[in-house]
Amino acid sequence: MTDRNAMETAPILKITDLRKSFGSIHALRGVDFELRRGEIHALAGENGAGKSTLMNIIDGILKPDSGEILFDGQPVEITSPAMAQKLGVGFVHQEIALCPDVTVAENIFMAATNMSKRFLMDYAALERKAGEILRQLGDVNPAALVRDLPISQQQLVEIAKALTLDCRVLILDEPTAALTDREAQTLFAIMRRLAAQGISIIYISHRMAEIFDNCDRVSVFRDGQYIVTRNVSETTPSEIVNSMVGRVLDNLYPDKQREEDRSEEVILSVRDLTERSLFRNISFDLKAGEILGFAGLIGAGRSEIAKGICHLEGETTGEIHLNGRRLDLKDYQDSIAEGIVYLSEDRKGSGIFLEMSIAANISAISLDQVSRGGIINERREAQFAERAGRSLNLKYGHTANAVSTLSGGNQQKVALAKLLSVNPRVIFLDEPTRGVDVGAKAEIHAILRQLAREGVGVLVISSELPELIGVCDRVLVISEGEISGEVTGDAMTEENIMHLASISQPRMEAV
């Protein structure tokens, strides 16, 4: 009886002295970790601290160099995701890993189909069940091909996929990085429900508010080492940040626009920009010295508007003026030539060259800065990368290493460094701090403010409302492809923005 009792109170997962290195990089240097039954346990740590590596080991994707894993009190050696699945581990990966050529429903039930003893597929049932799960999370068509979905919807599919598993431990590695507040809240409700059913959840996030609102305990990692575990109720965000970063971060957001920076000079002016199915009648001015934000729900069309202005995708009509001069852009190269650049929200798909070196990634858009007469100076290129990396607190081994060896947040920094390395006149940043840790985030925000001060037009798209409110001087809210409102100053509150974001627009004529 006591044995049994001990079993039930014993942690579901207990990890001792786990080590893992990649060549000379020590990702984990003797980590301890304990997960209780039915708790929501947050993991915090800077980019590259080793969080994903630890999760990948629990899921059997990576093999640890040494250390012990007790699952349900039993020592286990998890050698493959299939085995982890059998143990009851579900995993939402930081990097979205879906099959682009098959439907959402098939993706969601891939593991179930794999384990099922059924001989035939029942597509109708799959779609029905996928529809049920997706309805809780957000609006995704279960019959759509994953390749046709924007990254935020793919994120929802990835979450739905894990929820179908009959798991005892659910790992969520930055699931909200590309989600807006509304979808995130739904996810938290589901998490709490699962926890109440006795499922243990590991939740990785760089957003302190999420951790403190939803989790029971939080463990902090730094440089591959376990630092501390605290009950959320007994600690504060600044204490956690302090143990993560090793110093106190006093102000997370830079100062807003100063009075002397205020100017009526319009840098970018957009008039009646319309794309037949994605957005219409978009008109706004971006003024010198300000940081403008785009807010909205998933699928509102924020990214599409930015890409439309840069002529990256879609056929648009309307006018774009830069410093009062009407532009006649044909493609993105024209846009770059005018100094208008865009940072993609889809890091892996269109932000970085995974198998190329960090240096080559950072100089991709500004080769002329590291070359003379068309000949690349490799030393200069490496220095260029080092400089860019330093300013974003990039954690890497060598600039010649492939970007694929970096942690997710550090990959994001590379994508950002690439874009910041040009000297733009207008810069669109789509989820610029996706997956970036608090320290680096603050530095990125400071850089953006600095750019704005220097007269660069800065436009930020973010799904994280606190970020928009903290960084931007003015926020335009997009709903269903149209601007539904604008907030500035004290009116910039989450309530106001959410209200505007959920205004339903009269249906667009389908073309």
Binding site: D59, I61, S80, P81, A82, Q85, F91, H93, A97, L98, C99, P100, D101, V102, T103, A105, E106, N107, M110, A111, T113, N114, M115, S116, R118, F119, L120, M121, Y123, A124, L126, E127, A143, L145, D148, K161
Partner: protein, 336 residues
């Protein structure tokens, strides 16, 4: 073929809802463009030549691609899983040679065929080993095996075709006989195509092939043993080459060490024309067979029209290019 005609949509995982929009779906599916192009060719040819729409000509055209069509099935499945196989031609020839040598040494032809097909499966497994365990690329492994298997054919036969005229009639019947007017070869072909088309669309086991080819990592994360899937599709493709080789042997009553040179390009082209992606994850058997039919009809038509040989290649290549361009255009217009 009506069964097969639904391959496109269902291969994509859609489920039929109302019978009413059946026509709409037919128009929307991936293969419609190819079907239209082939139909157009048929109509043009039946005006151009009075011999085209004869039973004998149709039979000759069907016989010309039926056996290769079995290899196309294997290649398509392998392509979907993300692989490729350049050795299909040599392995098909080797199947003939192995079975032929065994038969000439007194083994009963059915047993000889079974052994030979097993050997081909072994070759596939060999390639699968190098791809999944050693970690080499399909292209280079199958290129090496293409050379080795051709060498084995030459070694086994001294470069001379084996005359197997003495094969028993009931064995030759497989390759030369007919049920009513329908040749056995074509029946086998249709059965293989329908069976694999069905399995690929409907069975959970073959869906894993799509998942693996579409994103091997994602499939592995879902617990699919992707290496095993790739190993098996590689083995399957070679096994089907073995089957094709045996049928050729029964049909020709001989085993030719030089058979099938250049077959790989033809077979891959058929699959690609039919919508298979060279990077894996998509493709249908039905489409690939349409691709094979298109290639075959063009060749046969040029021969039937007595087009000068010096012009045939130019016309053949141009039609191929035009056909895939039109098909691509039609697919794009219908909505990617």
């Amino acid at each position: 073929m009506a069964e097969g005609a639904m391959a496109g949509m269902q291969g994509q995982g859609a489920a039929p809802r109302e019978p009413a929009d059946y026509m709409k779906r037919l128009f929307k599916m991936r293969e419609t463009g190819l079907i239209l192009i082939i139909l157009a060719l048929f109509i043009a040819m039946s005006f151009a030549s009075p011999y085209f729409l004869t039973w004998v000509n149709m039979r000759a055209m069907a016989m010309a691609f039926a056996v290769e069509g079995i290899v196309v099935v294997g290649m398509t499945i392998l392509l979907i899983s993300g692989g490729i196989d350049l050795s299909v031609g040599s392995v098909t020839a080797l199947a003939m040679v192995i079975a032929g040598l065994l038969f000439l040494n007194g083994v009963d032809p059915w047993t000889a065929s079974a052994i030979s097909i097993l050997c081909c499966a072994g070759i596939g497994a060999f390639m699968g080993f190098f791809v999944t365990k050693v970690g080499l690329h399909h292209f280079i492994v199958s290129l090496a095996v293409m050379v080795i298997a051709r060498g084995a054919c030459l070694l086994g036969t001294g470069g001379r075709p084996l005359g197997l005229y003495t094969l028993p009639p009931e064995f030759k019947f497989v390759g030369q006989g007919a049920v009513g007017v329908i040749p056995i070869v074509i029946i086998i072909f249709v059965v293989v195509v329908l069976a694999f088309d069905f399995m690929l669309r409907k069975t959970t086991a073959f869906r894993k092939v799509f998942y693996t080819g579409s994103n091997e990592k994602a499939a592995a994360y879902s617990g699919i043993r992707t290496k095993r899937v790739i190993f098996l599709t590689t083995t399957l493709c070679s096994t089907l080459c073995g089957v094709a080789g045996i049928i050729y042997m029964a049909r020709f009553g001989s085993a030719q060490p030089t058979f099938g040179i250049g077959m790989e390009l033809n077979v891959i082209a058929a699959a690609v024309i039919g919508g298979a992606s060279l990077s894996g994850g998509s493709g249908t058997i039905f489409g690939a067979i349409l691709g094979a039919i298109l290639l075959s009809v063009v060749s046969s038509s040029l021969a039937l029209l007595d087009v000068s040989v010096y012009w045939q290649d130019i016309i053949r290549g141009s039609i191929l290019l035009a056909a895939v361009s039109i098909d691509h255009y039609l697919n794009k217009r219908r909505g990617r």
